[in-house]
Point group: C2
Chain length 475, copies 2
């Protein structure tokens, strides 16, 4: 999907309304319902892991925000500052959270005393603000966005490491099982990791039509950097003073944007059944041989039958639009399956099913309705993922040399290359590829590493390569 | 509960942590879980009413905020302004929403064209900011708080009127069925209604220990004032141009504060079972005659049995605290029911149950466990409500004259008086009762009005009275 068409698809599909403050967007019910469906999944999963929800303030004072130096360097240019209330100047300027490490960790320090207070595992669902100036885009890069942010503290690094991956797996599931978007699990480079953290893991997606990578969600091990700054110490089992190991992790409304970019087409949105608030739309096809009442009754019966089987179905009985107009509108809104009911269908005791993903039309006997529709929705979900994966995989280009790299970059590929893993080299690649469409950077080094034959050299520096890494332009 | 004890109860009960910015508080998991339980209830109810969730931006531009004059007059002194991002001054100052009428209604105007676009019924769960300077108090009056805000538009006043009451009934249920707090449904006076609205309905609670009324939650009919300012017009069924009728309604985290004030006691929080994230805490009482393993197994079996019956139960198996210490801690946190299991209980195949609300102790046979515990929790829920209602009712004082009014006010009563319903008179009463502890004002005129014999005079003005109204000092 081209960029222009993404912008019109999110507006015409009633996901987004542009707002009069640049970089802020209205999430309409059609988008919020997707966010809520994922929230139900993720929230239940983290509660199983004994992670509790809390709510910390939107505001953070200047002194506290600036406590961890690397961290504030990463966020400072984007921080929005409150300086006035009513007509009065505030004595101290107050930042709006760009993320909540510095908001929360002074209290971690207060609450954690001994090893029995660990692990401390909190999450919150909230809004954050990053006043960015480059390319605001609905869902993908907005000045305010919704997310969950988890913040946890452990007695040992091993526990922290293990949680980082448990959470990353939930993020993979959100993308692959719900959004039907294939992602690659891996580690961010030193240059791209979270400001102030120890290491960052990520699920990376790729948008074939624009040839750009996109960071899907990240799970960071913060190590002990913040613990040191915020003095988060505890007495361990031996009675010695020790410092906690911390993680933070987040996914945002960006997930919805990635899904739209990956599946959307010329007709509009294509929603995977698992996240569609309306999975099946039932449209009556009136004709003079049958009374409106009979037809509407059949639609109602169909919706009832599907609802009782746990399928999210609605009917569109508006009398001021033609069936054709309704088909287009529900296609634009991405509803996975349309059921058409006309006089002939009534006669044959069937409905006509039309899939949004591949436009296939099938007649379904009413007596098998719920079962067939359920199977079809499962099939659509799987087909969307498979199709997206084939397209994504076709974009992956293995390169070994700088020339191959540049050629693949110009062809908007997701580049896979042996790399020496030096921060200096990544900076150099960025500098050499800088242009109107942005510089190339590392996306991630996948956990699944292919063999690296001895003597393999870094595509960029010519030094010995240490890991296979994905590169590309990105959002 | 006295004020000082409220502050220590919310901190010691691990509901709240004070934050380093005055008037902002951290909602800890013990408080958030209550908020979430109510959210599940309320969200499902409004979805049944076809009200959809959306999310509008945190920010509102100065021009838009100031569009409805009465409205902005009510909120202007409390508005927090963002004037800087990073090191740069913003060209235009941006307000943080104190409420979202002005954020949303320009888009209502855009989305609503014809009668088929109505009703438009949206809700959002979010944070709002009101930079108040008087008496910040956790839950009750904080500079940032969480709420839901519903905003709806209808073709007719009758539909709007009817929704106002449907929502108010949900607020009553939150207080009475979940929080076990008795409330009075009624209408706010002209002086106390929502700034810019047509009329405001409310559920009003009363805190016997402090002798103050407290506005529980409000459901406003906005009439057509905002519709006029924001040009929210539609073509009606006859093809004529018409203006919508609007409502807005909200409840906040204040609900939790009211609950704590009403039920809390010297030992700490008292949570009604319906909103307690832990309804039953199981505490082992070790003794040398029985192995720790046997005891812990019995605790685990008890928790399992209760969990399977849908009861939220946990055990406290910590080895570094005595049973007595644990009892105090769980009492402080307000868990409705404690089950103690010691060697004698094992022998007799029973557990000892101790109620938080009235300290009653009962032995329960293990074979009847789930059933008995369930009944006991229901009984606690009812008893908390009944007790609170008796206490609240004992505070209601009917007065007919100014002298009686002043006497009742000094005795911290919830005053019920015949009133002429003139705004001027309310202003006068406020002026005459102004003092260190705040002025008296109207709480509400209850929907259920007692008889008003002909010739009844207003307690304050001596003019003919038109309605019975509650008065008092309030939060």
């Amino acid at each position: 999907m081209k960029f222009v068409s993404f912008l019109s698809v999110v507006v015409n599909g009633e996901m987004i309304e542009y707002y009069d403050i640049s970089g802020c967007y209205i999430l309409r019910p059609w988008a919020m319902s997707i966010w809520e469906l994922m929230q139900v999944f993720f929230d239940a999963e983290i509660k199983k892991m004994k992670i509790n929800n809390s709510y910390f303030p939107l505001f953070v004072s200047k002194t506290v925000l600036e406590k961890e130096k690397d961290h504030i360097e990463g966020f400072a240019p984007e921080v929005a500052w409150v300086t006035k209330s009513g007509e009065s100047e505030l004595d101290v300027h107050i930042a709006i959270r760009p993320t909540s490490e510095t908001v929360m960790y002074p209290y971690f320090s207060k609450w954690i005393r001994g090893h029995r207070d660990l692990p401390l595992r909190l999450n919150q669902w909230c809004n954050v603000v990053r006043w960015e100036f480059s390319n605001p885009t609905p869902f993908i890069r907005s000045r305010e966005f919704l997310w969950q942010e988890g913040h946890t503290a452990f007695a040992t690094k091993a526990e922290a490491d293990s949680e980082v991956l448990d959470i990353l797996e939930l993020y993979r599931r959100i993308y692959e099982e719900f959004m039907a978007v294939p992602v690659i699990k891996g580690k961010k480079s030193e240059h791209e990791k979270f400001a102030g953290g120890l290491y960052t893991t990520t699920v990376e997606a790729f948008i074939p039509n624009t040839g750009r990578g996109i960071q899907g969600a990240t799970s960071h091990c913060l190590g002990q950097n913040f613990a040191k700054m915020f003095e988060i110490n505890f007495e361990n089992e031996k009675g010695e003073k020790a410092m906690v190991w911390q993680n933070s992790w987040a996914y945002t409304t960006r997930t919805i944007g990635v899904m739209i970019m990956v599946h959307g087409d010329d007709k509009g949105l294509v929603l995977p059944p698992k996240v569609a608030s309306v999975q099946v739309i039932v449209v009556p096809v009136p004709y003079k041989t049958v009374s409106t009442e009979t037809l509407f009754d059949a639609c109602a019966a169909t919706v009832k039958c599907l609802s009782e089987a746990g399928i999210r179905a609605e009917s569109d009985l508006r009398d001021n639009y033609s069936p054709g107009w309704k088909y287009s509108q529900w296609e634009m809104k991405g509803v996975p399956l349309r059921l058409e009911i006309g006089p002939k269908d009534l006669e044959k005791e069937q409905v006509r099913a039309v899939r949004r993903d591949n436009s296939e039309k099938v007649d379904i006997e009413m007596k098998n309705l719920a079962k067939e529709v359920k199977d079809m929705l499962d099939n659509i979900q799987q087909n969307l993922f498979d199709t997206a994966k084939v397209k994504r995989d076709a974009c992956i280009q293995v390169v070994k040399t700088w020339d191959e790299f540049m050629e693949a970059l110009n062809q908007k590929k997701m580049i896979f290359a042996p790399w020496c893993d030096e921060e200096e080299v990544e900076r150099d690649v960025k500098a050499r590829t800088k242009g109107e469409t942005g510089a190339a950077k590392t996306l991630c080094s996948p956990f699944e590493q292919p063999d690296m034959p001895e003597g393999t050299l870094c595509f960029a520096s010519g030094k010995p390569a240490t890991k296979w890494t994905y590169w590309g332009r990105s959002y």
